[in-house]
Amino acid sequence: MSDLFAVVMLSGIYSLISASLFLDLDAVDVAFTEASVGAGISTLLMLASLKLVSRYQKKTRYKPILAFFVVVTTGAMLIYGTLDMPHFGTADAPVHTHVAPRYLNESMGEIGVPNVVTSVLASYRGYDTLGETLVIFTAGIGVMALLMVSKQTKQESKKLIPADMQQQIILRIVAKMMIPLILMFALYVQFHGDYGPGGGFQAGVIFAAGIILYTMLFGLSTSQEVFKATTIELFTAAGVLLYGGVGVVCMLLGGNFLDYDFLKHDPVHGQHLGILLVELGVGITVASVMMIIFFKFTWRTVKHKYKK
């Protein structure tokens, strides 16, 4: 397949199908994330970069027999390795015997949050999530460093860029109706994550998707008036800072780093508050990193348009 556009669309469809498979495997939170990230943002970013590179792949006559051989050998070895694995769906597999029962049985008493995924994510494995948030933050910085925008382009673009879809009246009207609801849904996902599937990661991505939709329809300069690049850059750092700050406050109050029991007099209330704040931090970072990445790609397109 030499049309990369089709490749990218197919990978988006693949993500959506795998999201429904995750749902079938009881992983509601993962399915939610995969649907919003894989089928939404990832496809969008790939399309945005396709705009900058050529859409068609060059034809090659080279036949990768060696690669095929390597792949088949690896596959045979991996399948041989699976013969010792526990069967699919068995309840007494080693995975289910170690920490999982503790999480499932005691999280209600210790943390008081029905969604165990949220409590494990934000409380039991809070360090882990802090690390992941930092990775996202770093990736955002990396993209910013790679795709810098000069001041000159910014000034030129203020006069010059019309939105790509200025004439699409129906799209604009429907989007105007949908965008506030998308943003509200993002906030619902953010703060309802304790009780149902959802949380900071999904909410951040959905929020960013709403803003990106707005940017695509109404132009980069219009949306930059509300979401200035410097403000978003500040917010990426603020999210991580909020996360780390909660940890430090816990230390100041006499606990360990990220030990929310000490945030309030009642440990369960403290845990609630801690999880809420930490998820908010994650949401802010994820949303602003996604927005920054998209904006940087779009700035590149603008720059190319007016350089030529």
Binding site: L4, V8, S11, S15, S18, L25, D26, A27, D29, V30, T33, E34, V37, G38, I41, S42, L45, M46, S49, L50, S54, Y62, P64, A67, F68, V71, T74, G75, L78, I79, H87, F88, A91, V95, A100, Y103, L104, M108, P114, N115, V116, V117, V120, R125, E132, I136, G142, V143, L146, G196, F201, G204, V205, V286, V289, M290, I293, K296, F297, R300
Partner: protein, 141 residues
């Protein structure tokens, strides 16, 4: 029946190999990134399918249910997905820069240009005396 109970791992292996094959056999950098994301998804499936218990429900506690699937893989994969998109975005940014620098995102073109640049550098460094050698090298190619 004994062996068929392992089918989830086989699906994972097949998906993983499809991704792996795309990464090593295709020359286009965007396709390589798509291959990487397929590879990634196969790992996600591996974790999630290990956490599944037959007859269990999603790990959101409720009085109506007794048996829940393992929440730990869900947590790990949830964060991994978002980190995955962040790294993919970084990769895409690199691809964009490569396109700007080389004018192509095909691996072979990039390598050819690199080899060419290297030759030119050598010519400049060693002067015309090494010209003959490098000419021979070019003929060999």
């Amino acid at each position: 029946m004994n062996i068929l109970g392992l089918y989830n791992y086989w699906i994972v292996v097949v998906l993983m190999l499809i991704g792996f094959y795309i990464v090593i056999a295709h020359e286009n950098l965007i396709k390589k990134l798509v291959g990487l994301s397929i590879f990634q998804t196969s790992v996600f499936f591996f974790y999630i399918s290990m956490g599944k218990i037959t007859g269990a429900t999603a790990p959101i506690l409720d009085e109506k249910y007794e048996l829940y699937s393992n929440p730990l893989p869900h947590v790990l994969i949830l964060t991994a997905i978002v980190v995955g998109i962040a790294t993919t975005a970084l990769g895409l940014a690199l691809v964009v820069r490569i396109q700007e620098a080389y004018g192509s995102i095909e691996e072979r073109d990039i390598q050819e240009q690199d080899a060419h640049d290297q030759l030119e550098c050598q010519l400049e460094a060693y002067g015309p005396s090494s010209m003959e050698i490098s000419d021979e090298q070019e003929q060999d190619e």
